[in-house]
Symmetry: C2
Amino acid sequence: MRKGKGAATLSIPAAGGEGTLDAQSASTTTPVLALERWLARKLLELSGHPRVSIVLWNGEEVPGAAAPLARMHIRDRDALYRLIRHPYLHFGDLYSVGRIEIEGDLVQFLETAYRGFDSARDTWFTQLQHLLNRPRANTPADSRENIHHHYDLGNEEFYELWLDREAMQYTCAYFPDPGMTLEDAQRAKMDHVCRKLRLKPGDRVAEAGCGWGGLARHMARYYGATVRAYNISHEQVAYARGQAAAQGLAGRVEYVEDDYRNIDGEYDVFVSVGMLEHVGRDHYRTLGAVADRCLTEAGRGLIHSIGRDQAERMVAWIEQRIFPGAYPPTLREMMEIFEPNGFSVLDVENLRLHYAKTLEHWLARFDLHAEEIERIFDGAFVRAWRLYLAGSQAGFLAGTLQLFQIVFTRGTNNDLPWSREYLYR
Amino acid sequence: MRKGKGAATLSIPAAGGEGTLDAQSASTTTPVLALERWLARKLLELSGHPRVSIVLWNGEEVPGAAAPLARMHIRDRDALYRLIRHPYLHFGDLYSVGRIEIEGDLVQFLETAYRGFDSARDTWFTQLQHLLNRPRANTPADSRENIHHHYDLGNEEFYELWLDREAMQYTCAYFPDPGMTLEDAQRAKMDHVCRKLRLKPGDRVAEAGCGWGGLARHMARYYGATVRAYNISHEQVAYARGQAAAQGLAGRVEYVEDDYRNIDGEYDVFVSVGMLEHVGRDHYRTLGAVADRCLTEAGRGLIHSIGRDQAERMVAWIEQRIFPGAYPPTLREMMEIFEPNGFSVLDVENLRLHYAKTLEHWLARFDLHAEEIERIFDGAFVRAWRLYLAGSQAGFLAGTLQLFQIVFTRGTNNDLPWSREYLYR
């Protein structure tokens, strides 16, 4: 799908063995059968009555709850049947190729849809989804492939267009004041993390999954720490090294192109921001064992991850098209990192609305650059990414996604602050 | 054991069907066999080499790790065998009747013992303990009996001697400054809880397990809330009502002598401080369902409880002699309150060292009044309670016990503060 380099990110054809999904032209002359009208009503009903109406391909409107926030246009008959067969997967694909369109605000549409789905939990929708596919395991080789899929996407040329300009943080920012700029909020996030870790000059830090390396540079530059940061994305590591060299930090920040499971050495601090979602449920204990292996007796750790209030698979479309292998864990599941490895949880903060705000900024910037992105990739790519960003924002607004920051230390360590007041000075 | 009212709290004879444990006189003339010397060494070794030496009944010292912090005197042969058979239960009983004595600081002795036990996890000690007894279930009738066992112990005449004088808080205080008085720290705890709940005038509060009612009165008096507080201890409820009437709060605080499972009505806030430890593992989901039943859409909740980093039974002696039915849960186990009931965890704070500090104050005041308490009860009671308070302090210092404060709300509620800075103004 990508014009140029050839590393396609969005492979719509593959799913479910249902053949290629193309931008079938709208079929306004195909009649709507009574069965199809009934199916459209049923779709709304079984989705928990979101504030949405459906407009079918002949222009006929199937009303939803009173005062709809948006209209969903289904442009052809096949699209309706696909949507019913596997809504969580096909909605995204059909939207991407323009066979489903949303009239009204996309984020509001998705938020009401998520709240509806949530209230309709345990209906056939959810059950169907669980039956239809299994998550991918994450062996080191898989991890490499999954990460390559997402992050090696033309690297900074694409992500620089809509992430914060200073630190290229592709994780939740922190908005103590919701009116802050994205750049200020990403800096505030990094400072919040560093303060929670009580980072001080000379501290040795291991970072598991470092993205484009912004946090590692921030820790070295403003806190005097020495950081060894691990990442399996070749392009991200190359970018991070370039930045560190340009900022004169090469001696204090080392980027290692390797899996977090291979972190070695002794550290005062273990930090991982936005990696756990990609680690896979079976590996939480291993992640904790890595922290246990490399932390000193009074070492401090922080895990920052998207999460859930209740265990649930990632939406199939996100999992298959955007983030293969991704899974946002519940707090209960995350305890597998700490409990078996003798760690004590000191502090958990839920920053759900901060991620919604972060995504609002990303989406606005993405839309500003939509034409440029369409020139690099194509229209379907732009629509798919817009849906992904809007859907994530809606998920955080509707409470189907959470963002947890967890501070931990060894259970035997008594070097603890007496209050969290120091975080807010 | 209690002189006077007759409601004995400490029933040493019952345990393990091993007959009455009495204050057998020390037998300095009984020779120490080679086997017994070996058993004493083994005891230290299998306890994870705490910094303790053992002095046997003939005065012979079995050295432990270098630089012992304390000496444990075993006054007769039978005491040694009992200690080996069931250390977690019999140590407390033997200490209470004076057949084991500690030379040196009791808290330091217990802390090094706990740290040793912790490192020797999965040896026969732990396994033996798990084999030997099962925890009690908590039906409403059991709960009543368990609570009566502990809290109806002569009521304020006893507890007023060593709890804070203002609010009679028999739960962890909050010491943002570790040099605070106990009274200041208990007030700070109540304010910390009220701030976390964003309590405001007119809020309706349900409190599950209210002790002597101090928090409920604090919420009404300083925050303008209307509180309905539940407790199954008849004597505590009577005391709480008397205090509320005396402070002119009777119209705004209602104390209900009933089980938390019977809370009814609609509330803006659900709070439970120090009850979960007594609720029993099988009832967490029910507790969450009660909160779900009575909270409004934007309702806020807080659970404050002793906890653990890893699932483990309460020490047998505490469970059988002091707190029948008590169980401190892990965070993972506590999630059973929230996950099945659609709640979202917003904030978790671990106040472990604050409970150690609270117990340090309690123990110091208890010791100041030891003679008075001995006149009401007897010497064994004083020794048992000293051990219980010192052992709890040691447990929080050694990290075998935690204190979790958890703030929650419905997963759909977006009325959330943007930072926790308001807690620290």
